[in-house]
Symmetry: C2
Subunit: 353 residues, 2 copies
DNA sequence: TTGAAAGCGCTAACAC
DNA sequence: GTGTTAGCGCTTTCAA
């Protein structure tokens, strides 16, 4: 008691620095501390009378619950960790915009980690787990089975966003990329393209593989052999670089499917500025994602829209109540027809400006 | 003790669910729990011998410190909260890319909040403060003095990023926007532009005001009266919309300074596709920020580069040791000359493609 | 150099 | 309904 007293007086000295606790509120309201807890934890019974007195005391004291203490006792914070790589690809800001909104509506917080540069997912996960996060959403391809086991052991649900794995215990939410690839192929073939190429992203990511597989399946079905299939990563720079490679070998290229919109932008800029190709008159181009800038006049890109809102909802649904067995949710994309695929009937109708 | 025993046996039943604590490590290593703490808190004395035994025990138990418990006792987490609005403006992904890297190198975590949509900064700050964050970085214009007071009371440093205020207690880190505006004006005048306009962003933000003030100051000094000064927000859509307004009234427009690169993109697209203006032959355009896409061939935008790396470092420096008095750090931007400002000497030299 | 012990602010049995 | 009480896992005096 003596020690306690000493502490208290220290606290009194610099009172302005110490925020109000449930104990303070209880004292002012003339109730027990646990009654205050019951109000804020929204659990157990509290009479209207007590509730009111507590609310008033809390207001005068400017009481705010301490999330750290709450997390410590409950064993769970309300933090969701997002691991991203290449946040400068405009697809991700779009996703983050939707995701932050959905999270904030639930009263959850977002940890943002960037697995670009020096750090990988595996480096970053352990420190995330220290906060007893509610879940981890991974938007990068790499995740070692070691790290996966770590999350499983701590009972932290992991969901891969915009990709998936068939390894057990890891949930996945993605667009139906195979079907998307098929739609792209169908569209280019319908436009009368003959010399068709695919510029992919990260070669072993499910995102890239599925889009490619669907695309090539339809091409194959129509006995159309692609003039080139090249893969590296989902960036503007790679799109432009890939065009360099392709055009050298196949100057008569007339149809191009790109792994995502950023790649498509790079490809289009290279085709126009380095090789004087008109889009879509000389080359038809299709992207993937439908990021906001895809609709801007500079590109006016035909693409496949990812259902980001529904993907985010599906992701949070998994975090709220993780299914026993790992689950892969595939949602349909939507073909968005704009100005980078020529229409077969009127090939000369379009002018470049 | 009886109760304690009961708890313990419960814990044993579902042992796999309970992560190792310092207590467990201490037991295995044959030392006290406080010795383990001293090792991980990196404070106080621990002999080499103990240190080794503890390290070994920790490894076998896969011990990871609990950030919530640590935060509770120390009164501080290692979380920095970032409040953003309009994350889809490519300037912010760029900043986040740099910022996440700098944070992770320090072993800090990032809370990301989006003040777009339904939520404002003021809505979001209280819940951030519950986590005893190390600091708050605000990338939005709005922050009520009420909320500012709240942070001050909790002794949480606040720094405005890419903007500032002269109100007390709030730090600010920004580019020298006035000087940037001056450089833009000097460049347009040097190119021989006569009919010059400014398309700004959020009208009362320091970012917008300073760029405009610097720009108009130089114009005024050269007796050049702008044909239009319009302001709304920092978006692509607004850039295009603003051009509609300006061109109606001033079809002979030949010089344009835009509040940021996104606005410039919208303006350029509208000038080209709706009004058949050639850039820079008919109209010279300057942006601000130098976001990554500014250098892409589609725009090849002349602009002023914000020193994002140095801005981030300055921001974190403030969070690490907040100065007593509020402090505004202004860092110089860099003029980046590309293809959207015509050179005076050879006005007919450029071709659009 | 090490250990014992108090307590950060909160939740959740449990007793009344 | 309400209060009492025992910790959650950690840091930090303080004594030895």
């Amino acid at each position: 008691m003596a020690i306690k007293k000493r502490r208290k007086s220290m606290a009194d000295e610099k009172k302005r620095a110490r925020p109000a606790t449930q104990h303070d509120v209880a004292r002012v309201a003339g109730v027990s501390q646990s009654a205050v807890s019951r109000v804020y934890a929204a659990r157990g019974y509290v009479s209207e009378d007590l509730r009111k007195r507590i609310a008033r005391a809390a207001r005068t004291l400017q009481y705010q619950p301490d999330a750290l203490a709450r997390g410590l006792i409950t064993g769970r914070s309300s933090i969701v960790a997002i691991v991203i790589a290449g946040i400068t690809n405009p697809f991700y800001p779009w996703v983050l915009d939707v995701l932050t909104d959905a999270l904030q509506r639930r009263g959850w917080q977002m940890f943002l980690f960037n697995a670009a540069g020096t750090q990988t997912v595996d480096d970053v996960i352990p420190s995330v787990l220290q906060y007893r996060v509610r879940g981890v959403v991974i938007m990068t391809a790499e995740l070692s089975s070691n790290t996966a086991a770590l999350c499983k052991e701590k009972r932290v649900p992991v969901v891969l966003f915009n990709r998936y794995t068939r390894k057990g215990g890891i949930h996945g939410v993605a667009c139906d990329n195979e079907r998307g690839g098929e739609m792209a192929a169908e569209s280019l073939l319908a436009a009368g393209c003959k010399q068709i190429a695919y510029i992919g992203g990260l070669s072993n990511s499910s995102t890239n593989v599925d889009r490619k597989v669907g695309f090539l399946r339809v091409l194959n079905r129509h006995d159309c052999k692609p003039v080139a299939v090249v893969e590296k990563n989902f960036t503007y720079v790679w799109g432009a670089e890939a065009v360099d490679q392709i055009i050298q070998a196949s100057p008569t290229l007339d149809g191009l499917f790109c792994g995502d919109d950023a790649v498509a932008f790079g490809a289009i800029d290279a085709l126009r500025s380095r090789y004087q190709r008109r889009i879509p008159l000389d080359v038809s181009v299709i992207g993937f994602d439908d990021i906001p800038s895809a609709g801007w006049p500079a590109y006016d890109l035909t693409t496949i829209r990812q259902p980001v809102e529904r993907m985010v909802e599906a992701t949070l649904a998994v975090l709220e109540s993780p299914p026993e067995r790992s689950e892969v949710v595939l949602l349909a994309g939507q073909f968005i027809s704009r100005g980078t695929v020529r229409s077969k009937d009127e090939p000369g109708d379009r002018r470049e400006n």
